[in-house]
């Protein structure tokens, strides 16, 4: 009952506010009049009675305020009042309002955009229903082995053994990359996809968009070929035909029945976070059954993913894996030290991308902090100017809490305006990032300003409102009423806390900006170093493409393959405008090459684990000339290097220096680890080239003529990448290449025809993006900090006008006044720069992984950034300093 009456009372007080207020005022007036009557009865004159009555009564407004407080609705009512008042105040100061709102909009917008990326890439569960309970299992090679301690894919025989004995997973599936040559309707097209075992889709919990997924019945050797298409392949190649299920398409020359289409969100495997050892499609186009026969044997090329049984724990999984490790050691005693490791799918997918995102998030938080400090500084300036207003309100009975709340409400309103603007800005920047961001970032396309992001923005908005409002509010309302009234409206350096707080905020802004700009500077140096690094090739006027051979009996034999590649090369050389042409297993920037353990004639066998290694690939004669890679010693491959002649190899500079230091490698003998394969004679040394990225360190490379493939099964000759050096114009080259290939076999797909420079650019997209982002934030921080500096210095100049007037009246030269103001700004800036230097020196360490050609905490970069910041700070002080210099002593003193 108490509760009920309580709420009824509050509700009436709130809803019938006018009535309740009128009643209160009637009630208080009645009391006052009774009091006056009493005093009159005692013989006082009516005037005296009223005077004494008022004295006894105390402030009528104060009593009424206390009554309102007791009604329990004051919070809502005051808020209503505060908001109305704040709106009026903000409208009356459009300059302040605009600067503060835009500052907050920048901070909130940037952090919201960054959060939406982090949310999509790191926080959102993977779009596979079972992702929460799905794990990937890897073989681990022991530390100290040739490969080092890395996650390794599975070989078929090991996977079969493990799937036969494991008990922790309800579903277990394997997958491995396969290329698909799509012929029949339209141009031949080469796509990548995976072969999967029956447990693959159930383990991830995939649901088909159309038709069905691969079942155990499909996954049998000898079953008729079937395929599940990706949404994008279905849309682009088959025009989104809803009747595709059941249709037959030509895949690698075999009629294959389409059994289903996966939704656009199902893209596994997409390469994100997979260890380098596992070859995965750049973009999975289709899934086909793996159909492993019972005694299958193969190389380590399979990924394994499983869904834990309901209720199964990671400890049970560990037991399971330990059992397998023991069994594995029994079966392969030579594979000592191998074990297994399970990684939750969600972790697997983001490991590599986590770092840059956290870097952005950190940068964005710094910008947000600067924005807060900036607005807090602006508020503080204004609050000190409003001391008179506050004093008056204090004298009229407003409590300090009420004044603090008033200022907090003003800043919350500002933050809400800023937040609204920021949200719109975030929407636009996420769109830009989606369009221009690096393609390597998984789930980027799912980023957007969704509910959780909007909630985050709201949280940030409220936090910035409070952060930028409360500090100044507490600082300026701490005042002595009597003192303040005595001071009246004179401009004095208000309370002691205000300037200290203001200077602290400014120093913090400069320091934070210093950290950000230093980080951006280091990235700029990195980018510069990458652009000017010696890549070992000349990308100008070079076009590359890939020529994959279909998996078919017509191209089963490696000699036949070599012959086709050679014929295509001959025809390419005949194209007018082609200056040089050649091919290799993988052209620079075209992907990773195979690698091998090597043995060098005349040297003792190295201990297992210590063997030297090298990358290993096929090249054609003329390839180095086409790429512009200098042949530093010896001769190039020639058509006369055949299986019948002496086996030869070309090595790169790094390999020459590593394996034959201070010797001439020409004529030396080197070969793959297998003893029965004859050694090769080194005929030439080429310059180091960058293979996968401009920032990589050079690795030993071994190049072998494509006409001398005696191992036959390795490295694969299924595809070769051609490189054409043109005389200039690349226009029309695509048609000419197509024609040249058609001349050999019209069924061969020409894949990924592009300029080499495009591939170089693509390899730098992540770096470019990080640089762009951090530079934008650095610039933002610089602008915000200089606005803050300008605000603080012009305010102090205003406050010290009288003092400056006195100084001038006493004969101080104007230059000295200018110096005085600049010195004040410079001192603050230097303090901020000092702290920022220490901060930058510590925090840039965190970004060591992004740097190339420059070290974290690089003194030159830090020095340049420090000078830049000091310059910007002094420039921001210049305008108010000039204003101080022009102060007219007469006017300044009279104003006092």
């Amino acid at each position: 009952m108490g509760m009920l009456s309580d709420w009824r009372y509050r509700l009436r007080a709130l809803l019938r506010r006018e009535t309740v207020e009128a009643e209160l005022s009637d009630e208080l007036r009645f009391h006052f009049e009774k009091e006056v009557e009493k005093l009159e009865r005692r013989g006082l004159t009516p005037e005296e009675a009223r005077r004494q009555g008022r004295l006894a009564f105390g402030g009528q407004e104060q009593v009424a305020e206390d009554c309102r407080e007791e009604r329990g609705t004051s919070l809502v009512e005051n808020m209503h009042q505060d908001v109305r008042y704040a709106l009026r105040v903000l409208r009356k100061n459009p300059g302040f309002t605009a600067v503060a709102a835009v500052t907050l909009a920048l901070g909130i917008g940037a952090s919201t955009a960054a959060f939406s990326l982090v949310d999509a890439v790191l926080l959102q569960p993977l779009p596979y229903p079972h992702a929460g309970r799905a794990l990937m299992v890897w073989l681990e090679s022991p530390p100290g082995s040739y490969y080092g301690n890395i996650d390794m894919p599975w070989a078929a025989q090991d996977y079969l053994m493990y799937s036969g004995m494991q008990r922790a997973f309800a579903q277990l599936g394997a997958f491995r990359k396969k290329t698909f040559n799509l012929t029949g309707e339209g141009e031949p097209e080469l796509q990548e996809g995976v072969e999967v075992s029956a447990g693959f889709f159930p383990a991830l919990g995939g649901r088909p968009l159309l038709g069905r997924m691969v079942t155990a019945a499909d996954d049998q050797p000898g079953h008729e070929p079937v395929a599940v298409l990706s949404e994008w392949l279905w849309r682009t190649r088959y025009a989104g035909d809803r009747g595709i299920v059941g249709r037959s398409i030509d895949v690698n020359g075999l009629p294959t029945t389409v059994i289903g289409v996966m939704p656009a969100s199902f893209v596994f495997p997409d390469g994100a976070g997979m260890p380098a050892g596992l070859d995965v499609p750049r973009r999975t186009a289709m899934w086909v059954p793996m159909a492993l026969p019972a005694g299958a044997h193969g190389s380590n090329d399979m990924g394994v993913v499983g869904e834990l049984k309901p209720g199964a724990t990671l400890a049970q999984l560990d037991d399971d894996l330990a059992n397998f490790n023991r069994r594995f050691a029994e079966v392969y005693p030579q594979a000592k030290g191998f074990w297994t490791r399970a990684v939750p799918l969600a972790e697997q997918a983001v490991t590599e991308t986590r770092r840059p995102l956290l870097l952005w998030m950190g940068a964005v938080l710094v910008v947000l902090l600067i924005a807060c400090a900036n607005v807090a500084g602006l508020t503080l300036n204004r609050a000190v100017g409003r001391r008179r207003e506050f004093t008056l309100r204090g004298a009229l009975g407003a409590r300090r809490g009420r004044l603090v709340r008033q200022m907090a409400v003003e800043n919350l309103l500002l933050a809400l305006v800023g937040g609204g603007l920021g949200l719109a800005g975030a929407e636009a920047s996420v769109e830009a990032v989606r369009r221009f961001g690096p393609a390597t970032l998984p789930h980027l396309q799912e980023a957007g300003v969704h509910w959780p992001v909007a909630l985050f923005a709201l949280g940030v908005t409220l936090a910035t409102g409070l952060l930028s409002g409360l500090g100044p509010a507490l600082g300026t309302t701490r005042m002595n009423l009597v003192e303040a009234l005595k001071e009246g409206g004179r401009r004095t350096i208000g309370s002691v806390t205000a300037p200290r707080l203001r200077n602290g905020l400014l120093i913090a802004q400069v320091a934070l900006a210093m950290v950000l700009v230093a980080a951006a500077g280091l990235l700029l140096r990195t980018f510069h170093a990458m652009l000017h690094t010696n890549a070992g090739f000349d990308a100008a006027h070079v076009v590359t493409f890939e020529l994959p051979l279909p998996v078919s009996p017509a191209y089963a034999d490696t000699n036949r393959m070599a012959q086709v590649y050679g014929e295509v090369l001959e025809r390419l050389r005949g194209i007018p405008g082609v200056q040089a042409a050649g091919f290799a297993s993988v052209v620079p920037m075209g992907g990773e090459t195979d690698s091998t353990i090597i043995r060098i004639s005349g040297r003792p066998h190295a201990r297992p684990g210590d063997e030297p290694g090298a990358n290993y690939q096929f090249v054609s004669p003329g390839f180095f000339r086409a790429m512009g890679t200098p042949l530093e010693e010896g001769r190039d491959m020639a058509d006369s290097d055949t299986l019948a002649s002496r086996p030869v190899a070309i090595i790169n500079r790094t390999m020459a220096e590593k394996d034959w230091p201070a010797q001439d490698p020409i004529g030396k003998q080197v070969g793959v680890g297998m003893v029965r394969i004859p050694l090769r004679t080194i005929i030439g040394v080429v310059a180091d080239t960058k293979q996968t990225s401009l920032r990589e360190a050079p690795a030993p490379e071994m190049y072998v003529p494509y006409t001398q493939n005696e191992i036959k099964t390795w490295p694969s000759m299924q595809t070769m990448q051609y490189s054409l050096r043109l005389h200039g114009n690349t226009a029309g080259i695509a048609a000419a290449v197509r024609q040249a290939v058609d001349g050999v076999d019209a069924g061969l797909p020409v894949s990924r025809l592009t300029e080499l420079q495009t591939m170089v650019d693509a390899s730098m997209s992540a770096d470019r993006f990080a640089l762009l982002l951090l530079s934008a934030f650095g610039l933002l921080a610089l602008v915000l900090a200089s606005v803050g500096m300008y605000g603080v210095i012009s305010y102090t100049v205003l406050q010290r006008t009288a003092e400056i007037g006195v100084r001038m009246a006493l004969g101080a030269p104007r230059r000295q006044i200018l110096g005085m103001v600049l010195r004040q700004g410079g001192t603050l800036a230097l303090a901020g720069i000092g702290i920022g230097l220490a901060g930058a020196w510590m925090t840039t360490r965190l970004m060591a992984g992004f740097l190339y050609g420059v070290r974290a905490g690089d003194p030159a970069t830090l020095a340049i950034v420090a000078v830049l910041l000091l310059g910007v700070a002094l420039a921001a002080c210049w305008v108010p300093a000039r204003r101080a210099m022009r102060v007219d002593p007469m006017i300044a003193l009279r104003a006092e």
Binding site: G2, E27, F30, F57, V63, D66
Partner: protein
């Protein structure tokens, strides 16, 4: 004339007790307390009205507009049943407290 400051929490008790005799308006309540205490206790208006509003919100008293002696509109407060119970409880605990304090002061 010297007044005693009211110890905290006793204001509510005094108001409730003053209303035991029947409905009263605010001024009459303060007058009554002052008279009965022989001018020692005096409730300042600044605390009287907030207290009345508080008690009303808690449901211990209810208010009604009526007509005062010389035909003016006044707000009359009246004890509710809950208010009576509250008064009894607080009176009892007040006696206990004062007795205990007196005992300590005399014998302690």
């Amino acid at each position: 004339m010297s007044y005693l400051d009211l110890p905290q929490g006793t204001l509510d008790l005094l108001i409730l007790r003053a209303l035991l005799m029947g409905p009263q308006h605010g001024w009459a309540i303060s007058e009554r307390v002052q008279q009965v205490s022989g001018d020692v206790l005096r409730i300042l208006q600044g605390s009287l009205y907030p207290a009345l509003h508080r008690l009303e919100r808690r449901g211990w008293i209810k208010a009604q507009w009526g007509v005062s002696d010389n035909n003016r509109r006044a707000k009359y407060y009246e004890l509710t049943r809950g208010g009576r119970r509250q008064l009894e409880a607080e009176t009892a605990s007040w006696h206990k407290l004062t007795a205990a304090v007196a005992q300590v002061l005399e014998k302690g």
